[in-house]
């Protein structure tokens, strides 16, 4: 039975929750059960922010998990945190343009993606999150790329300008490509 779990961590305002929500929406097209749990920091803005996405064909009992099998860390501190939590045999994706640190565990896979850098090239520093999502999709095959773009349309169409939408899609696709030729 198909099952994917992903934890995304970073600081508020960077779009951590947005891509989580996006992945969940896209997942509806492909899975029987979906769970999205955003766990953001207290009052303070720019604080730590993380979310969990579970895509599954079986019912999902707990909304929270201690050890995800896959995680994305959008900041240096998030990386330190997630390195401690990812299940052995799992994977961790890191923004190499905001931190040069490397993880020390060798029982999990690590992907160093210059997400922020790529986003700036695409034309919007804020789209780093989409780069990650693209990379994740490409790496795990957990979700059809088209489903994500459709979900993006549903979520943002009336909210934001087409340019923004296009930019996000490009960042997403580039993320996928980044992953494709990752070594």
């Amino acid at each position: 039975m198909a099952y994917h779990e992903l934890m995304i961590a970073g600081t508020g305002g960077r779009g951590v929750l947005l891509i989580g929500r996006l992945l969940a929406r896209a997942g509806m097209k492909q899975y029987e059960h979906i769970l999205f749990f955003p766990n953001y920091a207290p009052a303070m803005r720019g604080g730590e922010s993380e979310c969990t996405v579970i895509l599954s064909d079986d019912p999902i009992s707990s909304p929270v998990m201690f050890e995800p099998s896959y995680a994305i860390a959008m900041t240096g501190s998030a990386m330190a945190l997630m390195e401690k939590r990812v299940k052995a045999g799992g994977a961790l994706m890191i923004d190499s343009s905001v931190t040069s640190d490397k993880i020390s565990r060798d029982d999990i896979e690590a992907f160093y993606i210059p997400a922020s850098q790529k986003a700036v090239e695409v034309g919007g520093g804020q789209a780093a999150n989409m780069v990650f999502l693209g990379a994740y999709a490409a790496n795990t095959g957990a979700i059809e790329l088209d489903f994500v773009e459709e979900a993006l349309d549903d979520m943002l169409q009336d909210k934001s300008k087409d340019t923004i939408l296009a930019l996000n899609k490009k960042a997403f696709r580039d993320g996928a490509t980044l992953m494709a030729d990752y070594q």
């Binding site: 305002g13 303070m44 803005r45 720019g46």
Partner: protein, 256 residues
């Protein structure tokens, strides 16, 4: 270009009272600028040692105490005036200062605030007007502009459902117990200077035992206005100042 060894004089930097730590505010939030003003005026008047600050619930709840190096307490939502009342009554020589947002003071705290004015308390209020509830994600505040979209006025604030924007210093000016009431902004260097002067005057009303003073600061809230920090500056000059004129509404040396 002269070699950097040549003598330099420091023009400005982090104020002495500004604790060197990452501020808790969003990028481009004017609360950071207002924080500087508070620090500088306290230093210039030399009253930081007698200062007791009370931060309302809002972005300044942690923001002010964590960044300004004087005695502080944060307060339940809207209740800073009651707490300030007790502190000032017990320590008449202390400089008691409340920092409250427009939801904190203007909505849940309006009664607490008005009653402090009725009693003619002698503390000073720094009132932060960003026209929204910032901390909770941009809901309508009593100060939200007519037509302004917020997360609880999706089609823009209208009079039928939500009445008119609340003008706090004007309201305070009508109360006999109030010595000073003004509105200022920090969206240009010129207004920054005026704001400092206003706050200084308000503090002096308390220092000299004249009475209560309040200074409203028009302040940008980029994430909840859905604008970049720079766009916010225009929104203030074009929209906010139209509804909220700057200036002094009361300035007396003897209440009553």
């Amino acid at each position: 270009m002269e070699d950097s060894s040549s003598e330099v004089k420091k023009i400005t930097g982090r104020p002495k009272l500004r604790i060197p730590t990452l501020g808790m505010y969003c990028p481009g939030c004017h609360y950071g600028i207002i924080t500087r003003i508070i620090c500088e005026v306290l230093e210039e008047l030399g009253i930081e040692g007698k200062a007791i600050g009370l931060a309302g619930v809002g972005c300044s709840f942690g923001g002010a105490p964590m960044t300004i190096d004087v005695d502080w307490t944060s307060c339940p939502h809207g209740r800073a005036p009651a707490m300030a009342t007790a502190i000032k009554r017990i320590y008449p020589d202390a400089m008691v200062i409340t920092v409250q947002g427009d939801g904190d003071l203007g909505a849940i705290g309006l009664g607490c605030f008005m009653n402090a004015l009725v009693r003619g308390e002698h503390f000073t209020t720094i009132f932060l007007n960003n026209a929204v509830y910032g901390t909770t994600g941009g809901q309508m505040a009593p100060t939200t502009l007519l037509g302004m979209k917020t997360t609880t006025t999706p089609t823009g604030r209208n009079v039928e459902n939500s009445g008119y924007p609340l003008h706090i210093p004007e309201l305070a000016a009508t109360m006999k117990g109030v010595a000073y009431a003004a509105r200022c902004s920090v969206h240009t260097p010129g207004n920054f200077k005026k704001a400092k002067k206003a706050l200084r005057t308000a503090f002096e009303k308390q220092m000299n035992g004249i009475g209560y003073g309040i200074v409203e600061f028009i302040s940008a809230c980029p994430p909840n206005w859905g604008l970049s920090p720079l766009e916010c500056l225009d929104f203030i000059s074009d929209k906010m100042l139209e509804e909220y004129p700057l200036g002094e509404f009361k300035n007396v040396d003897q209440i009553g």
